[in-house]
Amino acid sequence: MRARSALALAALVAALALLEWGAPRLLNPYYLTIATRIGVAIIAAVSLQLVSGFTGQFSIGHAGFMAVGAYASAALSVYFGGGWLAALADVLPGGLARALYFPLPLLAGGALAALAGLLVGIPALRLRGDYLAIATLGFGEIIRVVILNVDAVGGARGFALSAPGVDLRYEDLGALYAVVVVSVAVMARLAYSSAGLAFRAVREDEIAAESIGVPTTRVKVLAFALSSFFAGVAGALFAHSEGYIHTNSFSFVRSFEIMVFVVLGGLGSISGAVVAASVLTAAPELLRGFGELRMIIYALGLIAVMILRPQGLMGSRELDPRPWLARWRRRDAAARA
């Protein structure tokens, strides 16, 4: 078992390294942008899955937390990061300096978003179902309006990640996907442990969960904080790869899109959310010609899925290669016998 996971890990690192080296050489900038956006969408979707699909707390203001992460990290980079990066670059080779610096705005964005998540979550979690959803919607909008009124991060003009003499953009696909993989792995491991069963217990039946000693309020708050942390990381990645952010990118429509990823992929399936986020982010970009119809197709598709297959693509199961591997191994052994 250990040898297999070591092998898998090595393969993963190799793939990321290949991506880092190969992507800028093999893909044109348009596809690079799509790949970046897919990465961001994956983290956003999985983080929403954690709080909504696993813990059953329906949050429809998720883009608000992404906004906090995006703006916080951007502000850090623009006002302080330039200096730090330059200082690091004096001492270390360029690539290493950048690699050391960029986790900082990511973590800062995540941390501030987590704080926002606590501020929203702690009062809102007294509410149930529809009311919670509406409260999160309201908070998401309030966050956006507040950011819009902060001139230091651009206000209505948007915020550009530029500082004199320093490139604050981070577009290394390999590093970006390393962050994606780590984020998804962290969330998956937390959700699929015996302690993580508490999340789903809260979703299934709060009163029963309390009766067996699960501190449901604390679990919900934790889910909210974790989910907003990673939403913030996604926002920070978005900010640093796009190089320019505006609150329009974090409106309720964005929250809705992320919710579509989660619901279509299957509430409670991390792999479902990953697949849905990837496909639904890539498709409209590649079908650019359908511009105006995009949202209509989304909405129609969503309604159709909800009516015909409300459990989404994967339901609450995960893509698991193991049964396939086992079958392949058996067939292989039989053939050799």
């Binding site: 529809d130 409260a135 309201g138 809705f256 909800m306 009516i307």
Partner: protein, 300 residues
């Protein structure tokens, strides 16, 4: 002082429009426990129907009482049909699905209507025909009430009174109240629940259509995305009054209209939209059942 009274009059006029839309939310929530996110778009369709009907029938050039009546009826009928269709196609199949499904579907329908509206009608704003001349109708010193405001108030009052009558004094209304209290029991008593739910949507959407016309009169610039904010605000009004409560929706709408106008008048108009959200959060945190709603207990 007179300025305050003027603001109050303005606020009540707006508030009655919010109330008409809020009624649709509250009635649907009462019978289905569903937040009909698409309701704001029904209101938009009402305004748009009014616009196109007036132009098609030649009422668009000058004030006309007949024009107003025709347009009002057309909008109410169209919206009623739209609301009933949405219920039949998008919500009824999900009657027994987990609570999140109809919520998401409702959001989907809302976005569908917004974007379809933009595609089919063009995203640029249109100007609602001046069916009621903008003239001062009443004056008390510095306090002025315009023709339009009077029309809005009168129409809203008549419609709300009509609704009260239907809900409280007719058999059908009693059936609606029964379904809102306990749909299963009502079904056992022989109430045709599906039909009553359809009727609820019909009535609520018709009111929203009327609200769309009244808004067109008061604020002639209309566009396919006009339903978003007012829809959200009317929802807040319904929650404020106690979602599921008809008098609550009326009071909530009026209150919201007044508070909003006062805030815009005395503090700052940029916060006008934010006020609704602040009220929403405050209600949800301190009194989720609203002014007239009943607190819900889960039986263990």
């Amino acid at each position: 002082m007179e300025n305050l009274l003027q603001q109050l009059v303005n606020g009540v006029a707006w508030g009655s429009i919010y109330a008409l839309v809020a009624l649709g939310y509250t009635m649907v929530y009462g019978v289905l426990k569903l937040i009909n996110f698409a309701h704001g778009e029904v209101y938009m369709v009402g305004a748009m129907t009014g616009y196109y009907t007036a132009r098609a029938l030649g009422f668009a050039q000058e004030p006309s009482g007949l024009g107003l009546a025709v347009v009002l009826l057309a909008a109410m009928a169209t919206c009623a049909a739209l609301g009933a269709t949405i219920e039949r196609v998008a919500y009824r199949p999900l009657r027994h699905a987990p609570r999140l499904a109809p919520l998401i579907t409702a959001i989907g329908v809302s976005l569908l209507l917004q974007n379809a509206g933009q595609l089919l009608l063009g995203a640029d704003p249109k100007f609602f025909p001046p069916l009621v001349a903008s003239r001062e109708a009443l004056r008390f010193g510095a306090l002025a009430v315009s023709n339009i405001q009077l029309t809005v108030l009168a129409t809203a009052v008549v419609l709300m009174a009509g609704l009260e009558l239907v809900v409280m004094r007719t058999r059908v209304g009693r059936a609606m109240r029964a379904v809102a209290q306990d749909a299963d029991a009502a079904a056992l008593m022989g109430v045709p629940v599906d039909r009553i739910i359809q009727l609820t949507f019909l009535l609520g959407s018709a009111l929203a259509g009327a609200a769309g016309i009244l808004v067109g009169l008061s604020n002639p610039k209309i566009d396919p995305l006009m339903g978003l904010m007012p829809g959200l605000k009317a929802f807040v009004a319904a929650v404020l009054g106690g979602i599921g409560s008809i008098p609550g929706a009326m009071l909530g709408g009026l209150l919201l209209g007044v508070v909003e106008t006062l805030v815009a008048g005395y503090l700052s108009s940029t916060y006008r939209d934010a006020i609704a959200f602040v009220i929403l959060i405050a209600i949800l945190l301190y009194r989720p059942s609203g002014l007239f709603g009943a607190a819900q207990q889960e039986k263990v």
